[in-house]
């Protein structure tokens, strides 16, 4: 049974989700009248990830065992075709109609029109240039939500053969290499081998939004952040990061830290999650 209601009130948490970087003025998002989302049907395959725990990477969780409850997650990133369906049902999220509060001017900027995907991308390519607000709206419309950082990181510990490959140096190297490949977001999903759980394209295709991406506080001064929530990197990180050799994780957290909820980036997409 879909946990959908016809009237889903969005953005109740808008004010609390504002990205507040150290030393940077809080970008105020004024309260707006609740928006109405039309539900969208989807048959996207979800996989169940059995809960467990993992070693927190940084900040207050660094070196701590973080518990993750069992959850469901899309097997691959949301595609252009899937996002197009969402736009057809919810035209307020098309490029021409979207509120600038919820998406910057790079939002779907490669699309040929409101309902035409980019020339150089495929229907089965991951949708990119979407803001956090838009990703969240999509997830709600299909009765899902965005995964948390912990859920994403936990599922992404797996290589092809094991649940937790975080101790394998070659796995880190594999991820680092995949992060250097260019233009992978223009290719179709599910062309690479899935990981242990059957999840595709966690690495090397697109960065992915997470529900609480903005809990990562990288001030940009990667070596000095030292207060608890902002403890990251280099001198600060030497004390607050659980694994200094995990360059791949550094890159993911730096990317999250560089984002604001209205940003739309060429190689940033998302996949959805759900409670069991």
């Amino acid at each position: 049974m879909k946990r959908l209601s016809l009237f889903i009130v969005l953005f109740t948490a808008v004010l609390t989700s504002c990205h507040n970087r150290q030393g940077v003025a809080v970008k105020e998002v004024p309260a707006v009248s609740p928006q109405i989302l039309n539900p969208v049907e989807t048959d996207k395959k979800m996989l169940t990830i059995q809960g467990g725990s993992y070693l927190g990477f940084l900040g207050k969780d660094s070196g701590r065992i973080v518990e993750v409850k069992s959850f469901k997650i899309d097997e691959a990133p949301v595609t252009n075709a899937e996002f197009l369906e969402f736009l057809k049902k919810n035209p307020q999220w098309t490029r021409s109609k979207v509120s600038r509060l919820y998406a910057d001017d790079a939002y779907l900027h490669n699309w040929k029109s409101d309902y035409e995907i980019p020339d150089n991308a495929k229907p089965e390519s991951p949708v990119t240039n979407i803001s956090w607000f838009a990703a969240k709206a999509y997830a709600k419309s299909v009765g899902k939500r965005l995964p948390s950082i912990d859920e994403w990181e936990y599922a992404a510990l797996a290589d092809e053969v094991s649940k937790d490959a975080s101790g394998k140096a070659e796995f880190t190297q594999y991820i680092l290499n995949s992060y250097q490949k260019k233009g992978m977001y223009k290719t179709s999903i599910k062309q690479q081998k899935p990981n242990y759980y059957g999840l595709y394209d966690l690495y090397g295709m697109v960065w992915e939004w997470t529900e609480d991406f903005n809990s990562v506080m990288i001030s940009g001064e990667s070596r000095g952040d030292s207060s608890q929530n902002e403890s990251l990197f280099c001198s600060g990180a030497a004390l607050t990061t659980s694994d200094l050799t995990n360059y791949a994780a550094f890159m993911r957290y730096a990317m999250r830290g560089s984002l604001k909820a209205d940003y739309s980036v060429n190689n940033l997409g998302f996949r959805c999650a759900k409670d069991l």
Binding site: I218, G220, E221, S222, M251, V265, N267
Partner: protein, 349 residues
């Protein structure tokens, strides 16, 4: 009693601090703060290494706009060996920045939308948090900006400071910024811009094809390549630096690192003047000067005799086995008074 001693020491320290502050402010080199800009604005020319912009001369302080764009791109590290460079304005090292003390510098940092990663910039010439790192932290497709006043003359390194910092620097994200003193540096005939960097590739030195960054070698400081200006041949063959006899040469030399200190030396030349560590103190008659990772130096010499002069890191295996080698070709009249080869005399044994 204890308290009294403590108070005495404290007041003594405070007095010392006060004295120090007085002399500090009187230092002629550190007066950038009081220099007013003339109200004009100039957008800085972008010149690719090994060349630099024209000297500031005796121009007054002004506002200078510096536009840098971060570009991640595959390029050659050596003939037939490619590497995924991360760059400021597409070159390793990044664009030279040239300004004078008292200038107000607006730095605009754009992160190309096709880049994969967030980046930023830390200029060692900045007095301010992180050298601008925080203010310039940008995700792909965005632009960051900050303005700073050039207070201290000297030659400074800039680099990316985004986590993992070591990797960003190892991939080529560094350059130099020169803050000339009031009235400019003394005139010379030729000026060049060279930076040393160590690279950590999966394959051994000389292995062909696209080479991946090797995190273990980087942490162990086992460089496969140590090169000038991002390529083993950046200063060789057609790229040799051409100088005529009698010309004075100034090299703005920086060391991006990330790990190794450079023992900068030119085979067959003596540095007449070295601005030690890129600062104000001039050391004369130097054979080899040490340039730390994240540091810089200005060296000057006069080309006396024609020939081929080889710029090396005198940690010499790096020069002959890892690429830290460049050539300066001096052409012109021989000067036997300074150097001549003697006729060989066949000795009868």
């Amino acid at each position: 009693m204890k308290l009294m001693i403590r108070t005495l020491i404290l007041s003594a320290l405070m007095m010392f601090g006060a004295c120090k502050q007085n002399s500090y402010r009187a230092d002629a080199d550190l007066n950038g703060e009081n220099i007013k800009t003339d109200g004009t604005t100039e957008v800085m020319d972008l010149v690719a290494p090994p060349y630099v912009q024209t000297p500031v001369g005796d121009r007054s302080a002004k506002k200078v706009v510096v536009n840098l764009e971060i570009i991640e791109k595959i390029g050659e590290l050596s003939d037939g060996t490619e590497y995924n460079f991360w760059t400021f304005n597409g070159t390793v090292p990044g664009t030279f920045i040239r300004a004078r003390v008292g200038d107000e510098i607006e730095l605009n940092l754009k992160n190309n939308e096709n880049n994969n990663l967030p980046h930023n910039i830390d200029l060692h010439a900045v007095n301010g948090p992180g050298g601008g790192a925080e203010a310039s932290f940008v995700t792909p497709g965005k632009e960051g900006s900050f303005t700073f006043k050039a207070l201290n003359p000297g030659l400074y390194v800039y680099h990316c400071a985004t986590a993992p910092v070591g990797m960003h620097i190892a991939n080529g994200m560094y350059g130099l910024i020169l803050i000339e003193p009031e009235g400019g540096l003394p005139q010379v005939d030729k000026e060049y811009y060279i930076m040393q960097g160590d690279f950590y590739t999966k394959g051994k030195f000389g292995e062909k094809g696209l080479q991946e960054f090797d995190i273990d070698k980087a942490i162990d400081e086992h460089a496969e390549y140590v090169v000038f200006n991002g390529h083993t041949g950046a200063l060789l063959g057609d790229n040799e630096l051409l100088v005529k006899t009698g010309e004075t040469v100034r090299i703005f030399f920086g060391n991006g690192g990330p790990n190794l200190t450079s023992s900068l030396h030119i085979i067959g030349e003596i540095f007449d003047r070295v601005y030690t560590e890129g600062g104000t103190t001039i050391t004369k008659n130097v054979q080899t000067t040490s340039v730390p990772a994240g540091g810089a130096v200005i060296v000057e010499f006069k080309a006396d005799v024609p020939g081929e002069y080889v710029l090396v890191d005198h940690a010499i295996f790096r020069a002959f086995h890892k690429g830290a080698l460049g050539k300066i070709r001096v052409s012109g009249e021989e000067n036997p008074q300074i150097f001549k080869k003697n006729e060989q005399i066949d000795k009868v044994l």
